[in-house]
Every structure is written in structure tokens, then in C-alpha cells.
């Protein structure tokens, strides 16, 4: 295999009269200075991604092997939404397991047997490692192998780590997808592979648009059924729908897939260029692409307009959380006219973010990692008009008079695509609009 990264040709095909977003990262000086701080990190751990992954694959069960804290975390981040028996749970380690009085492997086998007897519809079981299981070095990969053999093809057992000592929030999905990867069949058949969980309706929309442009088969990872895994091989062009799949992208490239460089599909321009980049990778006639996408772009801009009027000129501060901060900042700055005070990200993958970083205005402060106390001091000093942050910080900042947008909504809402750009902007405009509506005088 040659270079692991296939860079789209410089000056990628202009697919519509508007300027393409896909700037070559090497052509310009780096737009952003990066501020690195190390202190208290106010972020979720990777277990949180179970909350959307289990909805994406209804035939999969996510079993966290951890502590009561893990169970409480997943439950709290999901809200107490127990309208149905959940397809996730926690095998809580007890003192007996830690003291070695009980063989953790026997215990796990017993528990999995009970669980699967109760849930016969489950086809894939993910054993999800946690902080405690990592620290006591419980070998979940061996447990997964052993259980897969024992269950004799009825249920496949996989494992990955969602622990807070190793993963941040959305990285849990990156690890879960990598766990699925060895089960993906090999095929060199030409296909577009979209990686990253999308809302079902959004995905259907993308598939229909790609079909209209005449692309070869388009497949998605994760699939809607955990057993319908797409193949991967030299004919695969990989398009990332989410910006947090560093490990998955690398692993798919090892299997022969070629990464399509594109901005992420947030906003009208981002989504347009994301789709156009995929089309270009298959040599689709730009004229054809424009025919399909131009009306979407036009309509998307119209939908964006009322929200742009609210957001324009407002100052935005993004706290690190979901790893979507950089592409969202790009969208809010370029398409909604917001000014960027600081763009926080839990970690910076320069390879996957190169295109996005290049689109940020020169001098934008990008911060990687966090010392939450110092960052809050910067927020207070800057007095931004809107702070994107986690649920633990939102009300306290509101009480200080600073408008906020909870970031967790961004991983649960359909926000990708041209047709969603208006809704995405609305999520940020709503807190500001609400403030202007309220008066108690």
C-alpha cells in the first residue's frame, strides 16, 4: 500500500458557481494557533457514545464492564429515559471480583448467558471496557473470543474501550467501529463507504442524492443492523461523516480504503463540498453534481438566512466536548457570520482536521485539552454572546449572564447535510432568540 492518505488533487473540481471549500491544507499557512492546557477536563468519557450507538444498531447490546459510576454515567447522560428496557447495561464489578474471590471471567460468562437468554434478539454483543476494567487489566478481548466460541455463531461478541482514561466522549464510537472492522468482509468492488453514525433520515437523504449523482453503491458504517457489515477493500473510497473517527479511518485505510478529503457535512457549504468530494473521487461529471446539489445549496441558504440574521456578528466560544467543535466553528463563522473567540477541542487530529483548520480565519484561537477553571476565566473575560458547552457548565454560565448551547444535543440531533443546515443554525440561534423574548420587567 502506498501513502496512507490520499489527498484530493489540489484545486479540486469546482462543482458549482460558488467557491469550493476544499482548500488544500498545504497551500496556505496554518490558520490557527493552538493553545494547550492541562488541568481538569470537563468532558464525558467514551461510554457516553453508547447512548446513540445502541439506537443506531437495534440488534446490538452494549455491556459495560465497570462500576456503578459507569452505570450512573450512561443513565445520567441518556436522561432517565427508561420507556423501554435498554439495550445497554453495566456488569458492575464488586468487591468479590476485585479481591479475586470470584473469577471475573466466570462471572462475566454467567452474566452474559443470563442476559442473552433474556434478549434473544441480540446478534452482536459489545463488551465495553471502562476505567476500572482497564486498571485491573481485565482482558475483555479474550473474554469476547471465548464467548463468541461458546455462543457458536448465534451472537458475535466484540470488545472495545470506552474508558475515561483512554477516550473522550465521541471517541467511544471510533473504538466501537474499530471493533467491528475485523468482521467486515474484504472486497475490491468500487463503493463509497460513509463512516460515522448519522440519523437514519439524514442517511437516507444522502444515499438518495448520491444515487442521483450516479455513484456506485454507497454503504454505511455502522450499519443499521449490526450483522449487515459493509465490505472494504481497494475499491473503497472512505468518506467521514463525523470528525472523530481517527482510528477507524486509519484502520480502514489499512484495509485498502482511500480517504476522501473533504470538510465535514455541517452547513450548506460543508455538506455540498463533502458530497462533491465523494462524487469527484468517482469521477462524476461536475456538471451532473452541480445539477443535483445547486438547488439544495440555494434552498439551504434560504433556510439559513433567518438564523444568520440572529447569529451574525455574535461572538462564539466553544468549550471542548464532542470533537465537532472545529467543523461547527467553521460553519458558524463562514455561513452564519459569527466571530470566533475560542474553539476548544478535546484533542486535535491535524490529519483529519487539516481541511477544516485551513478554513478558519487567520488567528483563530484553537485550544486543545482543557483546564476548565482557566478556560472559564477566559470566558468571563471575553464575555462571548454564546458559549457551546456541556450540561455541567450550561446553567452556571447562564446564571452569570452568558448564553449557552448544550453541546450534547449536537450528537443526538439530525444536523448533517444541506437540508439540515437551517436546523443546525437554529440550535445556536434559539438561546439568543429566547433571551430577546424574555422580559420580567
Amino acid at each position: 500500500m502506498g501513502s496512507p492518505v490520499s489527498v484530493t488533487p489540489t484545486g479540486s473540481p469546482t462543482v458549482s458557481p460558488t467557491v469550493s471549500l476544499t482548500a488544500s491544507p498545504c497551500a496556505e499557512p496554518p490558520a490557527a494557533e493552538v493553545l494547550r492546557q492541562d488541568g481538569q477536563r470537563e468532558v464525558f468519557c467514551g461510554l457516553t457514545s453508547i447512548v446513540w450507538l445502541h439506537r443506531r444498531m437495534p440488534d446490538a447490546f452494549f455491556l459495560v464492564v465497570g462500576s456503578r459510576t459507569c452505570a450512573h454515567l450512561v443513565q445520567s447522560s441518556a436522561g432517565v429515559m427508561i420507556f423501554a428496557e435498554p439495550r445497554f447495561g453495566t456488569a458492575i464489578l464488586g468487591e468479590r471480583d476485585l479481591a479475586g474471590l470470584a473469577d471475573a471471567n466466570d462471572e462475566l460468562d454467567r452474566l452474559v448467558t443470563d442476559l442473552l437468554a433474556r434478549r434473544p434478539e441480540i446478534r452482536t454483543l459489545f463488551l465495553v471496557g471502562s476505567c476500572p476494567s482497564e486498571v485491573i487489566k481485565l482482558d475483555l478481548s479474550r473474554a469476547a473470543e471465548r464467548l463468541t466460541t461458546r455462543l457458536a455463531g448465534r451472537v458475535r461478541v466484540l470488545n472495545y474501550s470506552g474508558s475515561g482514561i483512554e477516550t473522550t466522549f465521541t471517541q467511544g464510537e471510533d473504538n466501537a467501529l474499530q471493533a467491528l472492522l475485523p468482521l467486515m468482509p474484504s472486497s475490491d468492488e468500487p463503493q463509497l463507504l460513509i463512516a460515522g453514525t448519522l440519523a437514519d433520515a439524514v442517511e437516507d437523504r444522502f444515499l438518495a442524492l448520491f444515487e442521483r449523482m450516479g455513484l456506485p453503491p454507497v454503504r454505511c458504517l455502522p450499519p443499521r443492523r449490526s450483522t449487515d457489515l459493509p465490505p472494504v477493500g481497494r475499491g473503497t473510497k472512505l468518506l467521514l461523516a463525523q470528525p472523530f473517527l481517527s482510528g477507524t479511518a486509519r484502520a480502514l485505510q489499512h484495509r485498502g480504503a482511500e480517504l476522501v478529503e473533504a470538510p465535514y457535512p455541517f452547513g450548506v457549504e460543508g455538506s455540498r463540498d463533502w458530497m462533491a468530494a465523494a462524487a469527484a473521487a468517482f469521477g462524476v461529471d461536475p456538471q451532473r453534481v452541480a445539477e443535483v446539489l445547486d438547488p439544495l445549496v440555494e434552498r439551504g441558504r434560504r433556510a439559513l438566512e433567518p438564523h444568520r440574521r440572529v447569529l451574525e456578528g455574535r461572538r462564539l466560544f466553544l468549550m471542548p466536548d464532542s470533537q465537532m467543535e472545529i467543523p461547527l466553528a467553521r460553519f458558524l463563522q463562514r455561513e452564519c457570520g459569527m466571530e470566533l473567540v475560542e474553539v476548544g477541542t478535546p484533542y486535535l487530529d491535524r490529519r483529519l482536521m487539516a481541511g477544516e483548520l485551513a478554513l478558519l480565519p487567520p488567528g483563530t484561537v484553537v485550544s486543545e485539552g482543557q483546564d476548565v477553571e482557566l478556560q472559564l476565566e477566559r470566558v468571563r473575560a471575553a464575555q462571548p454572546d454564546l458559549v457551546v458547552c456541556g450540561l455541567g457548565l450550561a446553567n452556571p454560565l447562564e446564571a452569570e449572564g452568558i448564553a449557552t448551547k448544550w453541546s450534547i444535543e449536537l450528537v443526538f440531533s439530525p444536523i448533517h447535510g444541506c437540508d439540515q443546515a437551517g436546523d443546525l443554525a437554529e440550535l445556536f440561534a434559539r438561546p439568543l432568540r429566547r433571551r430577546s423574548l424574555l422580559s420580567f420587567a
Binding site: L73, E85, L93, G94, V135, I165, G392
Partner: protein, 556 residues
């Protein structure tokens, strides 16, 4: 290893956070990995707190484990003390940090904290839970601050009439109210008001709203009121042993319990008992619950089957109130509080029941379905289970949701608490007059039989959704079948015969006609009872007489 899908309680360090966040001037340094900061949202979202809980997390990562995590702990402590200047410091660890054994409390003890009192919290994360953690933290903090002022052994206990000798009003402490507890904020106000009416002052309320300096004043009161035994039980016992402070243990939820509470307070303080018999009784005068419960509209509450589950304090109080003050039939009582299991078992035995002690919500849901209740009083977990079963529910206990922290004044304790309880438990049931009118007008053509009830959000109006005879839950398919059958019957189509393993049973035309005269909201139940009755007697056809035979058989 234990499988948990949803938990009633968080880990013990969340209990410690509840104490720290409830107080002023206390800071908690928690050795914990990134991700454990999720607990902040419990306070900022569920309680809508306007500030972050006073907690500094070390948020160590895998790469720190190879290095010196102890150094990280010390740095975090030093920075927290510098930044927040607390009046007392709690130092502890979460489940993962417990495994790496940095012993943050010992590290803190070796540091110069500028004289700030420091409490080392050792909360075993793999065997204990949230309420235990809260109780232990509150106890350790009070003990840590007061241990040097404990009178030497053999010192005389303060007398009950000490306040009289000192020429002041009697005063008590209210111990146990905390954030994420059930309606604590309003209970404190109600209980304080009630005590003031009896000339009794409140010295210290803790942990809610207290500063460390307030805890130092605890022994200046004449007695401690243990408002929430889950949180304050341990500390009240220690204060009783160490300072000879009597403890008022009656929890004033309901009329009888509130009167009992006041009597206990008066006894402990050597005050004359509050006056009154009959209409002069304070509960009769101060709360509307007794009259509302006696008024004719409430007749329909008689014998309503109620299933109760929650923390021990609220579940036990609810059971007594439901049985004696509302005339419900308690058909199930349980709690997830293993520490208070004895009290729950005793209360259940009083009602001729066996208590359910479990923290597995599926076991609770199963018990709920089997008990075939018409009303569920539970936590947010039971609210969801009840919704699935189509049974109305009122929330009476933690774990709670943002909607259980209402804007209005809504205590559970005292006279106003009894009013609030009457409204919030009775509201989910159909009101008596309304129920009567539906029966009266059911033959009017305007009356749409399948109309939606407000009960159980969207559940078809075939109450209850459980078989009252067998106590078996009706599956969704069965409930739908019943609803469909009811609708078919309205259209005067012949009722479809019900088949099961015991054989086919047919309704004769006159039997079916009689069945249609029964109000739709009990028709499903009557039909099932009658079919069970017929099946047990080997009858193949149900006519009007069978229906009335069955009615007589099942009437209680």
C-alpha cells in the same frame, strides 16, 4: 459481578458530592478519571443549580498512570485550596482511583492547607452506594469538626429542660436535607414554620445551606430532628452518643405522622403536649387532607389498589398515609434502601404484605405488574414502568427528574405537605364526580366509547391494564385485543370469542348485551373476570346470568 440496566443510586462519591454541593464553604477534591465529571450535570440540570458543584476532579488519564498520579492529586488539592479558599475540605476518590491506591486523604493530611479542616473520605465504591456515601460524608464532616468538643465520657447529659434553665426558647437542628433529595428545600421551610408556631426555634439546618461554622453550632441545640434518615441517621446516632442529644425520629409525612412528630418533639423538649382531640386536633385545623379525604367525592378512592416503591423513608410514610388517610389498599411496598430494609419490612408487615427490597428495577416492575395496581407511587423508575403498564403514577422519592424539582412550594412534610400529597396522588386518578358522570351519560349517542383517558398517556381507556384476578400483566397485544374488542362491541358486532389453552368460550347475545351496559373503563376487567369464572367452571357459553354470577363471585 452484577448486571445493572438502570440504577436507583449512584456511587458513594456522588453522595459525598450531594453533601458538598448542599453546603456553603465546603470544597471536595475528588481523585477521579476524565468522564466522572458527568456528575456535575445532576446538580446543574436536575436541580437547575446556578453554579457548579464545589468539586475539583483530578481527571487523570491513562498516560498519567505510568507517572506520578499522587503528584497530580497534590497539585489538584493545592490549586483547589488556592482558588476556592474553602472553610472545610473533603478529599476522596472515585471507583477507579480507589484501585490505584494513591490515598488522596493521606496525601492531603501531609500538606500545609493553611489550617483548613480536612476530612479524608474513604467511601468503598465497590460495595456501597450513593445514600450511604452521603450519610458517611455528613457524619465524617460533622465528627471531624466536632470531635474536639465532645464532652469527656461520664459527663452528665444535657437535660430536656435545659432551654428553660438557660432562659431561652427551645431549639432543634434539622438534619438530613440535601440537594437531589426529594423536596428537601420545601420540607425545611414547612417544618421550620410548624416548629415556630409551637415556639420552637431551628438552630442549624444541615447539610442544605449550612457552612462548616454552622456545624460547629449543632451541640447548642436541645435535640436533633432526623428529617431524612438515609442521610442523617448515622450522624444523629453519633451526636446522641457523644453529646447526649436526643433524636426526633418520626418523619412528619401525613397527618398522623406529623402529629406524632410534634408530640415527639414536645416530649423530647419537655414541653406540654400540643392540645386537642377531634376537630380541635391540629391536623384537622391546619391541613385540608382529613376533610378532603372524608368528603363524598373521595368515596371513589376507597380500596384503590396502590403499589409503593422508593427510598425507605418516603415509601414507608406513603404506605401508612395511603392506607389510613386515603383509604387505599396497599398491594405492594418496597424499597431500594437496603440499609433501612428492616423498617420497610416492619411497615409492610403492618399492612399484611411482604416488603420487596431490591435495586433491580425489572424485579420491581414485575412485582408492580403482578400486584395489578390502579395507582403507583414510586421513583422516576416506577413512573416509567407504570407508563409502560398503563397505570397512573405519582413520584414520591428519589431518584428524581427535573420535573420533580418544582418551581412552586410543594413540600411533602407537615400540614402543607399533606395537602400537596392529596393533590398529587389523587390527581392522576380520575376524579370521583367525573367518573360518576361518565357512567351516567354512557348511553348518550354523543358519548364516544373509545375516547382517550388522561391516564397513562395514550393508553386506551380500558382500565386497568392488568388482570385484577390473576394479577398477571396484560401484554401489549392483549391490551390491544381488549381495546379492539371493546370498540367492536360498541359497533354492536358480535364479540369475538376469546380462545386460550383452556378452551373456547362464547358470549351469548344476552350476555354480550349485558356486558355492553357496563362502563367501558371497567368493561375489560369485567369481561376477563367473567371469562376466568366461566373457564374455572367449565362453561362454554357466557350469558347474562353467568356475568352476574361472576360479579357476585368477585365482589368484595
Amino acid at each position: 459481578m452484577e448486571l445493572t440496566l438502570w440504577t436507583y443510586e449512584g456511587p458513594p462519591h456522588v453522595g459525598a458530592m450531594r453533601i458538598a454541593a448542599s453546603m456553603e464553604g465546603v470544597h471536595y477534591v475528588l481523585h477521579a478519571p476524565q468522564g466522572d465529571t458527568y456528575a456535575d450535570l445532576l446538580f446543574t440540570m436536575i436541580e437547575r443549580r446556578d453554579r457548579r458543584p464545589p468539586v475539583t476532579y483530578t481527571t487523570f488519564q491513562a498516560r498519567d498512570l505510568g507517572g506520578d498520579t499522587a503528584e497530580l492529586v497534590k497539585r489538584s488539592i493545592a490549586q483547589a485550596v488556592e482558588r476556592f479558599r474553602p472553610e472545610a475540605l473533603l478529599v476522596g476518590e472515585s471507583c477507579t482511583a480507589e484501585l490505584i491506591q494513591d490515598q488522596p486523604g493521606a496525601l492531603a493530611a501531609g500538606m500545609d492547607l493553611g489550617g483548613i479542616p480536612m476530612v479524608n473520605l474513604e467511601l468503598p465504591a465497590y460495595s456501597k452506594k450513593e445514600n450511604w456515601g452521603a450519610a458517611e460524608t455528613f457524619y465524617q464532616l460533622v465528627r471531624g469538626l466536632l470531635k474536639n468538643s465532645v464532652p469527656p465520657p461520664g459527663s452528665p447529659k444535657p437535660t430536656a429542660g435545659r432551654w428553660r434553665e438557660e432562659g431561652r426558647r427551645p431549639r432543634v437542628n434539622l438534619l438530613g436535607p440535601s440537594l437531589l433529595g426529594f423536596r428537601c428545600r420545601d420540607d425545611v421551610r414547612e417544618v421550620s414554620r410548624m416548629l415556630a408556631e409551637h415556639g420552637i426555634d431551628v438552630a442549624v439546618v444541615a447539610p442544605l445551606g449550612a457552612r462548616p461554622a454552622d456545624l460547629l453550632r449543632i451541640p447548642t441545640a436541645d435535640a436533633n430532628v432526623c428529617l431524612y434518615p438515609e442521610v442523617a441517621g448515622t450522624v444523629c446516632s453519633w451526636l446522641e452518643r457523644s453529646f447526649g442529644m436526643p433524636v426526633v425520629r418520626t418523619v412528619p409525612i401525613g397527618i398522623a405522622a406529623t402529629e406524632g412528630f410534634l408530640q415527639e418533639v414536645h416530649r423530647v423538649l419537655d414541653l406540654p403536649q400540643p392540645p386537642g382531640d377531634g376537630a380541635a386536633r391540629e391536623g384537622e385545623r391546619r391541613s385540608r387532607l382529613p376533610w378532603y379525604s372524608r368528603s363524598v367525592d373521595s368515596t371513589y378512592l376507597t380500596g384503590k389498589r396502590v403499589f409503593i416503591f422508593g427510598d425507605a423513608t418516603h415509601a414507608v410514610a406513603a404506605a401508612r398515609l395511603a392506607a389510613h388517610e386515603l383509604g387505599f389498599e396497599v398491594v405492594g411496598l418496597g424499597s431500594y434502601s437496603r440499609e433501612q430494609a428492616r423498617e420497610v419490612r416492619a411497615a409492610a408487615a403492618e399492612l399484611g404484605l411482604e416488603a420487596l427490597i431490591s435495586d433491580d428495577y425489572l424485579v420491581v416492575e414485575q412485582a408492580m405488574a403482578e400486584a395489578a395496581p390502579e395507582l403507583v407511587l414510586g421513583t422516576q423508575m416506577e413512573r416509567h414502568s407504570a407508563k409502560r403498564l398503563g397505570v397512573p403514577c405519582a413520584v414520591i422519592s428519589t431518584p428524581l427528574h427535573v420535573q420533580d424539582v418544582p418551581a412552586r412550594y410543594a413540600p411533602q412534610m407537615g400540614w402543607e405537605g399533606a395537602n400537596v400529597i392529596f393533590d398529587s396522588w389523587v390527581h392522576p386518578l380520575m376524579m370521583g364526580l367525573e367518573e360518576h358522570l361518565i357512567g351516567m351519560f354512557r348511553h348518550d349517542f354523543e358519548f364516544v366509547d373509545g375516547h382517550r383517558s388522561h391516564l397513562g398517556d395514550g393508553a386506551p381507556s380500558v382500565a386497568p391494564a392488568v388482570d385484577a384476578v390473576h394479577g398477571t400483566p396484560i401484554t401489549t397485544t392483549m391490551a390491544t385485543a381488549t381495546a379492539t374488542a371493546t370498540l367492536n362491541a360498541t359497533a354492536h358486532s358480535p364479540t369475538a370469542p376469546m380462545e386460550d389453552s383452556a378452551g373456547t368460550i362464547r358470549w351469548s347475545p344476552d350476555g354480550d348485551a349485558e356486558l355492553q351496559k357496563i362502563p367501558f373503563f371497567v368493561r375489560g376487567k369485567v369481561r376477563r373476570n367473567t371469562e376466568t369464572f366461566a373457564r374455572e367452571r367449565g362453561l362454554a357459553v357466557i350469558d347474562a346470568e353467568t356475568l352476574y354470577d361472576a360479579k357476585a363471585h368477585f365482589s368484595r
